[in-house]
Every structure is written in C-alpha cells, then in structure tokens.
C-alpha cells in the first residue's frame, strides 16, 4: 500500500511531463492530420475548434486535467474516442507479447545461464557467452526482419506478421494455434536480446559464487561440482536475474514499438508512436499511465518473488 502511495508523485510527474513535452512540440494534431490528408478533411480552424486543440496552453491544460479525472482518461484526438477504450483495446496484445518475451528471457536465459555458469571458462560457456554477446548487439528491428526472412519467407514455417490469419476465418483450436503461431516471431524478436542479458547475469553471478568462501569450503569438503550447482551456486545468482526481469519490463515497452511495427501488431508501443506523430497528448498520457501501472505491477511481482527466493529481502518493506 505504501508503495502505491509512493508511486503517485512519480505518476503525476510522468503525466505532466508527457503532456507538456508533446504540447511544446512544433505543430499540433490538426497540422499532423492535414499533413496526412494533403490538406483535405476540413479547414484548420474549424478542426481545431472541434477537436479542442485550439486555445491557450492553460485552457488546454485545464481541459486535459478534466479529461484525466473523467474516468476514461479524456478523449483521444487521433481516434476520436475515449483514451481508455483505445488503450484497453491494445493492452491485451502488449501484455501477451511482453509476458511471453519475459518468460522467454527468464526461462531460456536462466537455463542457458545455468549451463554456462556451471563451469565458467569451459568451451560451452565460451560459446554461449560469445553468442549472447552477438544476439545482444543486434538491434531488435533487424533481428525481427532477419527472423521474418528466414522463418517466414525462405522457409515458410510461420506467418510474417499480424495477429491472425485474415481472409479465412478459423474457429476453436485452430484459431488458438493460429494466434500462437503469429506470436512466435515477435516474441523471439523482442525477447532474444533479453535472453542474452539474463543468461549473462546468471552466468556472471555464478562465476562469482564459485569463488565464494562457502563454496570453496564445500568443494574442499569433497562435494562434487554437480551437486553444488543448483544448491549453492545458482540460487543466490538467480536474484539478479529476477531483478533484471523487472527492469526489462520497462525497456521492453520501448522495444515493443519497433517489434510491433515490424510485425504489424496493434499494441501499445505503436499506439504511443502514433500519439506522438499525431500530436495527441491525451492518448500519449493514457499510454504512459497504463504502461507505468504495468511496470509498477511487474516490479511488485518481482519484489514478492525475491522475498520468496531470499527471506532476508522484503521483511521490512512489506
């Protein structure tokens, strides 16, 4: 509860910041719109009046504040609908994509990290660490296009993009499988970089733990390496991986802009981009608010997980 209250100033800062920054950007929603339509669609002043983007900055701020507290976060200018409706349409897609990518990052990254960290310096560790470095260095839009070319065009195993097969409506299990197939490539594109990060975090933690006194003592007492990997070495090293996952949740929302664009997925990242290019401050603030709540929620889960993994953490904070 205290955490939630503590988050309020942060959220207020983020909201005001997003609104002010976008309002200060040159050009408004009507300029963006007329640029899109080549000047068609109405006279500038009339559109400004209709969309409520005219008026002085304080007037706009007041209208915006009224919108925020209206229960549906105000009216999106670009979509002409309540912000909350627009954002909620996109949230499930983003949640699924982020959830899968995080699971991939922690699951696969953890497993590989375990393999690499079990014997730091061994050939398999070197190979894994080198690959992780490469994957980590690839920008995710390029990784996305590369995966698409390899797995959807050259070898047509998976769909190129979108959420579902269009044109031939599917039902029941085949629809579920179809949707799952559409998520494979975006999840890989978004998650692989984080797999590498998680792997390296675990591997580094384990490498350090191998040198800790109690592990050396255990080794001296004759415990075999294999029996120590999970019980003594990996467990403490997993903590940073979990912490990292919480941080990744935040940066993933940023990365999802690109992945959602490449794979034509209607998620919140693209929505944020559209809000900026369309000069739609209420929508941007809506996206930012919901993302902030999302990141806070994930961090709450992370903290609870940590407390479970290591009883010393969280006792004072709960």
């Amino acid at each position: 509860m205290t955490r939630i209250i503590a988050a309020i100033p942060t959220m207020a800062f983020v909201v005001i910041g997003a609104f002010v920054l976008l309002s200060l950007a040159p050009g408004d929603a009507v300029d963006a719109y007329l640029a899109q339509t080549g000047g068609s669609g109405g006279a500038g002043d009339d559109l400004r009046r209709r969309w409520g983007v005219g008026g002085s900055p304080p007037e706009r701020m007041a209208a915006f504040a009224a919108g925020i507290f209206s229960g549906h976060l105000g009216q999106s200018i670009v979509h002409g609908r309540p912000v909350l409706d627009v954002v909620m349409e996109r949230l499930p897609v983003t949640l699924t994509l982020m959830g899968l990518s995080l699971a991939l990052a922690v699951g696969l990254g953890g497993a590989l990290g375990l393999v690499a960290g079990a014997r730091p310096g061994a050939p398999r560790d070197r190979a894994l660490s080198a690959s992780a470095l490469i994957v980590n260095a690839i920008p995710n839009f390029w990784l996305g296009l590369l995966l698409m070319l390899l797995l959807a065009v050259r070898a047509p195993l998976l769909p190129v993009g979108g959420l579902q097969t269009l044109g031939a409506p599917l039902t029941g299990w085949s629809a579920v499988i179809d949707r799952a197939q559409h998520l494979v490539l975006p999840t890989l594109a978004l998650g692989l970089g984080y797999v590498a990060l998680s792997m390296r975090a675990l591997r580094a933690g384990m490498a350090e733990t191998w040198r800790a006194d109690h592990v050396r003592a255990a080794r001296a007492l004759g415990h075999r390496r294999r029996s120590l990997v999970w019980r003594a070495v990996a467990r403490p090293a997993i903590l940073p991986v979990v912490v990292l996952a919480g941080q990744q949740a935040g940066t993933m929302i940023g990365g999802s802009v690109v992945v959602e664009t490449v794979f034509a997925i209607p998620g919140m990242g693209r929505l944020a981009f559209e809000a900026v290019s369309g000069r739609d401050p209420p929508l941007l603030v809506g996206v930012v608010l919901v993302s902030t709540v999302l990141v806070l929620a994930i961090n709450l889960i992370v903290d609870l997980t940590l407390a479970r993994l290591d009883p010393r953490i969280g006792a004072a904070d709960a």
């Binding site: 000047g39 669609g41 109405g42 979509h79 002409g80 034509a264």
Partner: protein
C-alpha cells in the same frame, strides 16, 4: 512469370524504355475469363481518422473508401471518363447549368434507393462546404434541382467551365446517402468511419491497428460484379515487412510504392510476384522546390532561376526515382496533354549559368565559397522528398549557396512551412488533380491566409498571375480556357516562384494471381469491381 515484369506505360511522346518491359498484367492476360470469389488482402498504409472520401479527398482515404463510395464518373485510360453514378452530363451555353443523368436502379448498402436527392445533398452540403477542392470548383453552385429521381441539374450563380466540372468528377464527387447524413453534424457523423455507399464493396469492419474488412455487395448495379468476395486492408506500418509478406503470399497486393523503389528490381524477380508501374497517371505527384519569396535573396527572380539551373533533373528522375519519374517542364504535368504547354522551356541544368546569375544578382562568393546560407526543409512524407533534399543541398553548394537541412516530422513540417512560413526553401509534393484550377493555381494565387497547407504560402504575389487565374476560373470556352492556362504556365516559368522539378507515379506490387490490376489511370483509388483472383 519470373522475369522483371514491369508494365510501365510511359507518357505519350516518349518511347517505351526497354524491350524487356513485358506486359504481364496487360490485355493479353485480361482475356482470361474472370473468376468469382476469393478475398484479396492488401497492405493498407494508414488509418485516417475520417475515411469519408466526400469530405477527405485524399489518396490515403480513396485507396480504401473508393471501393465503398462511388463518384459520378471515373477516368478512362487515354483520356475521357467512364460513367459511374452519372450516365451522362451536359452543360448549358452560358456555363450556368450542368445537367446530370443518373444511373437508375442503384441502391445504397442499407437497401434504400439512390436518387438525385443524394447527389443534390452531397453537392450542396458536403462537396461545396466541407471539401477543400470542392470549395473551389463548386464555389458558385447555387442549387441542385431534382426534377426527377435520375436528373440532377447543377445551377451556378456565375459561369463555371464544364471542362472543370468534368475534370472534377473522379476525385471530387463521391456521393453520400442523404438519408444518413441529412440533419446531422456531417463532419462528425458516425458513418464517416463506418461507410455506407453504393459501391461494389460494403464496409464491414475496422479493427484498429489491424485491418479493415470490406465484403462483396451482392446488389451492385454492375450485374455480376464485383468478382471478389471481399477485400481486407491489412495495416502494415513496416515497408520491409510488406515486401516479405508479398513474397510469402500473405498479402497479394500493395500500392503507392509501399514496397520501396529500391526493392523493385529484386521483388520483380521473385516467382509469382509482379511489379506494375501503371495505374497512377491520374494522380500524378509533383516534386516541387517551394521558395519563400519574402526572403531577400530569393525575392530576386535571378536567384530563383539560378536555383533551377543548379538542379540536374535527369539525376533526380534516374537516381532518386529509379526511372519512375519524368522531368517536369512547368507547373502542369506532361500527363495532362490538354493543359500542358509542350513548348515550355524550363531552366536546364547549367552550373555556369547559375553561378553567372548569382554574380549578376549581386551575391559574390564569400570566404569558403558560400554566397549566402538558406534553411532547407524537405517534406518528410516520401523517401524521395527527403532524398531530393539531400541532393539539393549538394547541388546548391556547387553554385555557392549553403543550404542547411532542417528535418521535421509531418506535423512540425506542416506548421513551419504553411503556417509560420519559417523556411527559405522547402521540398513539397502536390498531387495534380486533373485540372489546374483544382490543385495547381492555388500554389500561385495570392491572398491565401497562413495556415492553409499545400497552397501559396510562398509570399509570391503577382497581379498578372492573379489576373490570369481569375480569368481562367470563369472562362467557359474550353479552347480559350486552355489558352489562359498556357499563359499561366508561361508566367509561372518566367517568375519561378516555386520550381517544379519532376512528376512521378508509384508502383504496385502484386501476386500474379491478382488480375485486372492498373486498368485505369486512378486504379489504386478506384472501384476494383472488375478485379479478380485466379486460383
């Protein structure tokens, strides 16, 4: 079908570029019997807030909406018009009356009959009042009389050229259902995002960020058409992904060069995929150097002429547009063979002449070789407008003008150029709408207040020019009207308030299975009733 399959109908007066240009989508294949059925999946390029083509007469809207809502007539290959909702039209000798005979037996997608009342309502309440082009063409429209259900008589308070009204038919006359719009706030009517029309396809569903779905209209007036069961416009913001999806046959068509020109040669070699450069002549885009004539150096016509001499148009058409553009000879595209003055002699590429003009104008080279420095704002909407900005910067350096590129996103660019006039040079891309009075004179006439985009925000004011434009606007004799627009082109090329560099069209990338592609000059923005899928 694995060869590079570019069917590029060049403009009359030029030769076909090379023997290798096969005619894969041309008449030879159109002879196959059309097959009914199938859903065509197309890459959409955006999700406009308002998709009503009667209000928003833009290609982004027409691309989808033209399948649902129809105009009175469409353009025909080689010039002329095909009837759509109007069967015929004729003007009176005094230019104050245009009589339309309308197609009988047409019904709206909701089952109500289409009548002359709908045309009268659309003209008076929508085209004339809410549409930017319509405000010009139907400025003097006083009333539309409807003596019977299939006759609409347009009465004008001042002479209005029939030629202009005719040229306006394809893009400006989308007809809306009166029974849905009358008595409502038209600009905010829910039908602006859930279209109701008379067209071959009915608007079915929009899933934001994902797709628009159109389904076949079984009661379409053109018996037996459309051939397709439906069209899905899939929202695909990434152009690399559009190419990949076409290769994987997950979309069958993309238009407006959604697959980048740089990819044209490669994707044309993919089996089952064809590249078509046809079907855009009726919506020719023009590459224009917009000039702030109020800036001291640029107020001198010699300086503007020098800039024109500094530009190598061949480089622009061949390297930037990869051969899909033609050098302009003035403000009216070569495609409009009626209006374009073929005798125009635009400033040719001549760096020495440009330098001499600048010396003569009193701007000698200073330290470092620069005469003066300018802000250059390339419009961000096309790859080619940005690339031409980079090219122009270099070309101007050769004549001693230091151009500083200012990159903006669309909203910021629109405001900087068309409201604040905070630029010296800008790169623009107006669309030619089939008549100079619709889309071109607005770039030259004075008195347009700041904030009207894609119009004369260039601080250019010439009484001679304004006089010719005003005279042509009410000249009802076609030959004299054309002569006045010849004068217009001469003045434009003499004063060079802005510089028309090139005119370009786009490519369509389609699977071989898509037939009857690009069979009219506005194909991408037309009905697609006769488009079909083979297997």
């Amino acid at each position: 079908m694995s060869s590079l399959n570019v069917t590029r109908r060049r403009f009359i007066g030029t030769t076909i570029a090379a023997g290798s240009l096969a005619t894969g989508a041309g008449p030879s294949r159109a002879q196959d019997a059309p097959r009914r059925g199938g859903v065509l999946i197309v890459a959409a390029d955006g999700e406009p807030r308002n998709i009503n083509p009667a209000i928003v007469a833009s290609n982004g809207v027409f691309f989808m909406a033209s399948k649902v809502i129809e105009p009175l007539a469409e353009m025909t290959p080689g010039g002329g018009f095909t009837p759509r909702l109007a069967l015929s039209w004729q003007g009176s000798a005094d230019g104050r009356l245009v009589l339309f005979k309308l197609r009988p037996g047409v019904s709206w997608h909701d089952g109500k009959p289409f009548t002359s009342e709908d045309v009268a309502f659309s003209a008076m309440e929508v085209w004339k009042k809410l549409q930017n082009f319509g405000r010009v063409v139907f400025k003097n429209l006083e009333a539309v009389d409807t003596p019977d259900a299939t006759t609409a008589a347009f009465r004008f308070s001042a002479p209005t050229p029939l030629q202009l009204v005719e040229n306006a038919l394809p893009a400006l006359t989308s007809v809306l259902p009166k029974h849905i719009y009358a008595g409502t706030d038209i600009a905010a009517n829910p039908a602006n995002v859930k279209l109701v029309g008379t067209g071959p396809f009915k608007f079915s569903e929009h899933r934001p960020g994902e797709y628009y779905r159109l389904e076949r209209n079984p009661n379409y007036w053109d018996e037996g058409k459309p051939y397709l069961d439906g069209i899905i416009f899939r929202v695909m913001p990434d152009r690399g992904a559009i190419a990949a999806a076409t290769e994987a046959n997950q979309i069958q068509l993309s238009a407006f060069s959604a697959v980048p020109l740089a990819d044209m040669a490669r994707i044309g070699k993919v089996p089952g995929v064809k590249v078509i450069a046809d079907g855009y002549d009726g919506i020719t885009y023009q590459l224009v150097v917009e000039i702030n004539n109020a800036r001291k150096e640029l107020s001198d016509p010699r300086v503007r002429r020098a800039i024109a001499h500094a530009i190598d148009r061949t480089f622009v058409t061949d390297t930037i547009f990869l051969g899909t553009a033609k050098a302009s000879n003035g403000p009216i595209p070569l495609f409009d063979k009626v209006m374009n003055d073929a005798t125009l002699n635009p400033p040719r590429f001549d760096v020495a002449r440009a330098n001499a003009l600048l010396d003569e104008a009193g701007y000698p080279r200073g330290a470092g070789g620069a005469r003066f420095s300018l802000r250059l704002l390339p419009a961000p909407w096309f790859e080619q407008t940005r690339q031409f900005g980079d090219y122009l910067k270099q070309a101007l350096r050769a004549v001693g003008i230091d151009a500083q590129i200012v990159n903006n996103d669309p909203a910021a660019h629109t405001k900087a150029v068309y409201t604040d006039r905070a630029y010296d040079l800008a790169i623009g891309s107006p669309v030619y709408r089939n008549d100079p009075a619709i889309s071109t004179t607005v770039l030259y006439e004075s008195g347009i207040p700041p904030g009207v985009p894609f119009a004369n925000q260039y601080n250019y004011k010439s009484e001679e020019m304004d006089g010719v434009i005003a005279k042509a606007a009410s000249e009802i004799d076609p030959a004299r009207r054309v002569a006045l627009y010849r004068d217009f082109q001469q003045i434009a090329n003499r004063d060079l308030p802005i510089i028309h560099v090139a005119e370009w069209t786009f490519i369509t990338v389609a699977r071989d299975s898509v037939r009857n592609v690009a069979n009219n000059p506005r194909w991408a923005t037309s009905h697609w009733a006769d488009t079909w899928l083979s297997g």
